[in-house]
C-alpha cells in the first residue's frame, strides 16, 4: 500500500515504534476508530500504518450521560466516559475479529488503579493481531483523588513499570497535556521502561450552554480535540523530544500533511490522527502521501529523516543514516 496510492516512489515510509514496524507513520488515535470496522465500511483503513483501538477497562463501563459531545471552534469536546464492555468481553468477542484488521493494531488499556492497568494489559498481551499496548495513563487515579496518573511522574512510573514487568508486547504511554511541564512525565515513562510515548491526549476543557445556563456536557468537563489544540501538541512533542530517546507518537489536531509534518519535525516518529477522521475518512492517505512528498522534496530516502528536523535539541537516539544531524547550538 505504501507507494501504490499516489505516494512518491522510492521513499521509505516505514517507521519503527518500540520494535513494531509500521508501513507508514500514520496511526488512528484511540477512541476515534473503535475496533476498526466502522470506518472500514467506507474507506480502506490500510492507509494507516496502525490503528489504536478504543481503550478497554477491566470492568464493563456504561460511560457518561448525554450530551457527550459539544462542538467548539476548530474542534470538539467529548466526555464519553470510557464506555466499553470490559476486558473479558473484549477478549472473548472483539479480539478474535482483530486478525482481519488490514493494518497493525495497537490495543489501548485504561484503568483507575495500577492493578487495573496490569490486569487489562496482561489480558491483551499475546492476543493474536495485537502488536503493542498503549496505556491511557491520562485516566483519573481513584487512589489519588481522581487525579490523572500522568500528571505525576511517580504515578506514571508506577503504572508503566508495573505493566512492563508483566507484558511482552511493546508498551506506549499516552500522556496528558494537562500538566505544567511535560518533561518529567515523559522522562518517568521512559525510565519506567516505556517503549514509546504518545502525546497529547485531549485537553481538559468546558463549554457552557448559555440558554440552559449549565455546562453543555452532562459530565461538566470534557476533552478538547481537533485543530484547536494542535499548537499545544507541537510544543509538548517538542519538549518531550528534547527529553526522551524513545520514539514519540505525536498527535493533537492533525488535519493535513502539513500538520503532521509539524509534529514530526518537532520530534515525533509517527503521528496519530483522531478527530480529523470525523471530517475526512481519507485523511490517513492524504497525510501519509504528504509526509512522503516532503521527504522526497528534501532528498531524504526515508521519512524517518523528518523526525526532529526542526528541533535542534532533539534527543532521539537513532539518527537516520540518511541524514546528518545538524545541531544548531541550542542546548537542552
Amino acid at each position: 500500500m505504501s507507494a501504490s496510492n499516489g505516494a512518491p516512489a522510492n521513499i521509505d515510509l516505514s517507521v519503527d515504534i518500540g520494535g513494531v514496524t509500521l508501513t507508514n507513520p500514520t496511526i488512528a488515535a484511540s477512541g476515534c476508530y473503535n475496533r476498526g470496522a466502522e470506518f472500514g465500511r467506507v474507506v480502506d483503513i490500510s492507509a494507516y500504518g496502525a490503528i489504536t483501538l478504543k481503550s478497554v477497562t477491566r470492568e464493563p463501563r456504561l460511560g457518561n450521560a448525554m450530551p457527550r459531545i459539544a462542538l467548539t471552534p476548530a474542534g470538539m469536546l467529548n466526555a464519553i466516559g470510557l464506555e466499553g464492555p470490559g476486558i473479558d468481553y473484549f477478549v472473548a468477542h472483539e479480539a478474535p475479529k482483530l486478525s482481519s484488521v488490514p493494518t497493525v493494531v495497537i490495543a489501548s488499556a485504561a484503568g483507575f488503579t495500577v492493578g487495573e492497568f496490569v490486569d487489562v494489559a496482561s489480558a491483551i498481551d499475546g492476543l493474536p493481531g495485537v502488536a503493542a499496548i498503549e496505556l491511557d495513563v491520562s485516566c483519573p487515579n481513584v487512589d489519588s483523588e481522581g487525579e490523572c496518573f500522568a500528571v505525576d511522574p511517580r504515578t506514571t512510573d508506577a503504572v508503566v513499570a508495573a505493566v512492563k514487568r508483566r507484558v511482552k508486547l511493546p508498551v506506549i504511554a499516552k500522556l496528558t497535556p494537562n500538566v505544567a511541564d511535560i518533561r518529567p512525565i515523559a522522562r518517568a515513562a521512559e525510565e519506567a521502561g516505556a517503549d514509546a510515548i504518545s502525546l497529547v491526549n485531549s485537553l481538559r476543557a468546558m463549554a457552557i450552554d448559555v440558554e440552559r445556563a449549565r455546562p453543555t456536557l452532562a459530565n461538566g468537563t470534557g476533552g478538547l480535540t481537533g485543530p484547536a489544540i494542535r499548537p499545544v501538541a507541537v510544543y509538548q512533542v517538542w519538549e518531550s523530544a528534547q527529553t526522551v530517546r524513545i520514539p514519540i507518537i505525536g498527535m493533537g489536531g492533525i488535519e493535513t500533511g502539513r500538520d503532521a509534518l509539524e509534529l514530526m519535525m518537532a520530534g515525533a516518529s509517527a503521528v496519530a490522527i483522531g478527530t480529523a477522521n470525523f471530517r475526512d475518512p481519507l485523511v490517513a492517505a492524504h497525510v501519509r502521501d504528504a509526509i512522503a512528498e516532503e521527504a522526497r522534496r528534501r532528498g531524504f530516502a526515508s521519512v524517518r529523516a523528518l523526525t526532529g528536523l526542526a528541533n535542534p535539541g532533539f534527543a532521539g537516539k537513532r539518527w537516520p543514516a540518511d541524514r546528518r544531524p545538524q545541531r544548531l547550538g541550542v542546548s537542552r
Partner: protein, 277 residues
C-alpha cells in the same frame, strides 16, 4: 444498521432555496447515495471551510440521481452549508442510519412530525404508499413559517393535517393533541422535539400502538466509532451495545448509538431519563 455499506461521494449542489426565513432546501446530484437512500436515511456532510466534524442531515426527498436536504439554520455548519453556491462539490457519506419498518398492506400509518422533524417522512410516505399502507400525517410547528414540506408530503401520498402553536396555520394545537384524535392507526412514526417524542411514546404505550421514532443527538463521528451520540435504551434492546452490566454502576439500561444503531428506535425500547428534561 443499514444493510448496505454507506458511500463516500462528492455531491454537486444543484439547487438552493430558502423556503422560509432560516429554513433551506438544498438539492444535490449524488447518484449512488440518492439511489441507496431509504426512510430516515441521513448523510454526513463535510461543510467546506474551517474545521468541523461532519454535519449529519436527514435526506428529505430523492429523485433518480438527486436528493434534497431540508434543514433549519441553527449553527455555524448549517449557516455555511446554506450559503454554498450552486455547482459546489460537497463530500457526503451516506446513506447512513437504519430505516422505519413497514407494516402489512392495508394498515393505516400515522406520522407525527414536529417542525423540521418532517424530514424523514417524505421517503417513508413513499415507501408506505408503495406497500399499500394508508398514510395519515400530523405536522405541527411553532408557527406558519416553521411549517415546511407539507405540500411535498401530500404529493407523496400522505393525508396531512397541520397545526401550529399559535394558530397561524391549521389548528391551534400540539401535534400530540391531534394524534390522540386519530383512532384508526396501526402504527405511529414520530420525529421532532424530544418533549413531543416522549409524549408520543407514552401515548403509543398507553394505547398499545406500535410506534417508532427517529432520534437526534450531537454526533461526533457519524460512523459509530466515538460513542458520542448515545441514547439510553432498555436492556436487551436489539440496538443497545449488549455489553455486560457495569458492576459499579447502578444504572440498569444500555446505550445505543443514534448514528449507526438508529436513528430509528422502537418507542418501547427508548428510556426517558431526567437528563432529557
Amino acid at each position: 444498521m443499514a444493510s448496505d455499506a454507506p458511500l463516500l461521494e462528492t455531491a454537486t449542489l444543484i439547487s438552493r432555496e430558502q423556503v422560509a426565513p432560516g429554513f433551506w432546501c438544498l438539492g444535490f446530484r449524488s447518484p449512488r447515495i440518492a439511489r441507496a437512500a431509504g426512510s430516515a436515511s441521513y448523510v454526513a456532510v463535510d461543510v467546506p471551510g474551517v474545521f468541523s466534524v461532519r454535519l449529519p442531515l436527514g435526506i428529505w426527498t430523492t429523485r433518480d440521481d438527486e436528493f434534497s436536504l431540508l434543514f433549519r439554520e441553527w449553527g455555524d455548519r448549517t449557516r455555511r452549508l446554506a450559503r454554498l453556491s450552486v455547482g459546489s462539490g460537497v463530500s457526503c457519506i451516506g446513506p447512513l442510519g437504519n430505516h422505519f419498518s413497514i407494516p402489512v398492506k392495508g394498515s393505516t400509518a400515522l406520522i407525527a412530525a414536529g417542525g423540521i422533524g418532517i424530514v424523514p417522512f417524505w421517503l417513508l410516505t413513499r415507501e408506505l404508499r408503495a406497500a399499500g399502507v394508508n398514510v395519515r400525517a400530523i405536522v405541527g410547528a411553532r408557527t406558519k413559517a416553521h411549517l415546511n414540506g407539507v405540500a411535498q408530503l401530500r404529493e407523496a401520498g400522505a393525508d396531512v393535517t397541520v397545526c401550529t402553536d399559535d394558530g397561524s396555520e391549521g389548528d391551534k394545537a400540539m401535534v400530540l393533541d391531534l394524534v390522540k384524535r386519530v383512532h384508526a392507526a396501526n402504527v405511529i412514526y414520530g420525529c421532532g422535539p424530544l418533549g413531543m417524542l416522549r409524549a408520543l411514546c407514552a401515548h403509543a404505550s398507553e394505547n398499545r400502538i406500535q410506534c417508532e421514532i427517529s432520534m437526534e443527538e450531537t454526533f461526533g463521528c457519524s460512523m459509530g466509532t466515538c460513542w458520542g451520540c448515545v441514547v439510553p435504551v432498555r436492556r436487551g434492546s436489539q440496538q443497545g451495545s449488549g455489553y455486560p452490566p457495569s458492576p459499579r454502576d447502578s444504572r440498569t439500561y444500555d446505550f445505543a448509538r443514534v448514528c449507526v444503531d438508529g436513528t430509528v428506535f422502537p418507542a418501547s425500547d427508548v428510556l426517558w431519563l431526567e437528563a432529557y428534561a
